[in-house]
């Protein structure tokens, strides 16, 4: 084996090993996994859950922890409410977006603002699991005994500037997204963990209108 072949193989294997997160292995049947994920999301009309968000800032070795409650209802309705240590609410109702901050409500047309539009798409597709079919991300699938781990690498230049990879942790028992980790280019990250998840409970439309 000449020098170049050795180099080629060592690079090839090191990149393969580097891609697989510790404690996980690659999913072989990715198509059947995607199909299962889609089937499960079709069965869900509403989701209600608590969440804990951790923002890790490496230079400060500091975590900013915020907690709240979230509601989702098909089609395209979402209420994302921080309750600790701050009160802040984002609600999306089809093409309208509401933000309640310091008791003041602001209403926006999602399509009028590129940033709101991408926030909406991101949140909805994370909840729906449809992010897997988004052409703007390159997916990689891993698994262990309990979880699937989907790594989504952004392909668009704009997104790449502030996002290195998104990791979705999906429970094997019911295909629910239990944790989302967004890693930035400088390795600071934000994790969101979902707890007390309830599906298909009745949620009134009024929850997605903020006054």
């Amino acid at each position: 084996m000449n020098k170049f072949t050795t180099l080629f193989f060592s690079l090839l294997f090191s990149s393969i090993f580097a891609q697989v997160p510790v404690g996980y292995k690659s999913v072989k049947e990715t198509e059947s996994f995607k199909q299962k994920m889609e089937e499960q999301s079709k069965l869900i009309n509403t989701i209600e859950s608590d969440f804990t968000q951790e923002k890790y800032l490496s230079v400060m070795s500091e975590k900013i922890i915020t907690k709240g409650h979230f509601l989702f209802k098909k089609v395209n309705m979402l209420r994302w409410e921080y309750t600790e240590p701050l009160k802040y609410l984002i609600a999306i109702n089809k093409d309208k977006m509401f933000i309640k901050d310091n008791g003041k409500v602001s209403k926006y047309d999602i399509n009028s603002n590129k940033m709101f539009k991408s926030i909406n798409e991101m949140m909805m597709s994370t909840v729906n699991g449809t992010l897997l079919n988004n052409k703007d991300y390159q997916p990689n699938y891993f698994e262990n005994d309990k979880l699937y781990l989907i790594e989504l690498t952004p392909l668009q230049k704009g997104a790449k500037d502030f996002l290195k990879v998104i990791q979705l942790y999906v429970q094997k028992t019911d295909y629910a997204v239990v944790k989302v980790k967004m890693i930035e280019p400088g390795d600071d990250y934000t994790t969101i963990e979902f707890t007390n998840r309830k599906t298909n409970q009745t949620i009134g439309d009024e929850k997605f209108i903020v006054k």
Binding site: K55, V59, I64, P85, L86, I99, D101, I119, F162, T190
Partner: protein, 210 residues
């Protein structure tokens, strides 16, 4: 014409008021205690604020975290509530480093103003500038004037509580920016308001955690 005269009169009246506002202060002897200390102290703690920045009708809201890394070395990071980093500043002695900034924030005038405002609160190297001490006519506030050359900062301390309640930044005795510090608990203000008088910029900091 009548309106023009009236307007001119009001302008003269207002400007003469602002020019003379520090003239009524009575000079007192300076003591080492009269030099203001940074509200962030020297304990390398971090502080988390819910922050709203209103600039010419636009509003940015998020979480601002400050942390002292070493003596006279602070890191200040602003993120959205959802965790997206908006800017990352470092203040080391008189050196400022912009580590990161999203394109929406990357406007020199805005960044520069926010940087200067944070510098006023951090009070790095304040001792190297000439100072003088005053008391107001009601004898309720001790005032220390620090001369930075181009502009002067006036630090208002409550005589009884010794709390820093206000900072005014002035240029040629004309008020440019006011910092209000209130709702103190354990020696730290729970609310800080920064209001600019010559541009439409208002920054509110509500302490969430320290």
């Amino acid at each position: 014409m009548k309106n023009l005269l009236l307007n001119s009169f009001i302008v003269i009246l207002l400007s003469s008021c602002s020019l003379g506002q520090y003239g009524k202060l009575k000079k007192t002897a300076s003591t080492p205690e009269s030099i203001p200390h940074s509200i962030f102290g020297e304990n390398f703690n971090s502080f988390l604020f819910k922050t709203n920045i209103r600039v010419y009708g636009k509003e940015y809201s998020g979480l601002l975290v400050t942390k002292q890394m070493e003596a006279n070395d602070y890191r200040v990071i602003f993120t959205t509530e959802l965790g997206m980093k908006l800017f990352d500043f470092q203040f080391k002695d008189t050196l400022f480093t912009l580590h990161y900034c999203v394109p929406q924030f990357n406007r020199a005038a805005l960044l520069n103003t926010i940087q200067k405002d944070i510098e006023v609160l951090l009070m790095n190297n304040i001792k190297t500038h000439p100072s003088s001490s005053y008391i107001d006519s009601k004898q309720t506030q001790n005032i220390t004037k620090i001369d930075f050359g181009k502009y002067q900062n006036y630090y208002f301390k409550n005589v009884q509580s010794k709390e820093l309640v206000k900072i005014e930044q002035a240029k040629k005795s004309r008020k440019k920016t006011t910092f209000i510090l209130s709702n103190y608990t354990d020696g730290f203000p729970n609310y800080i308001l920064i209001k600019h008088h010559d541009i439409k910029l208002k920054i509110e900091l509500n302490l969430l955690k320290k």
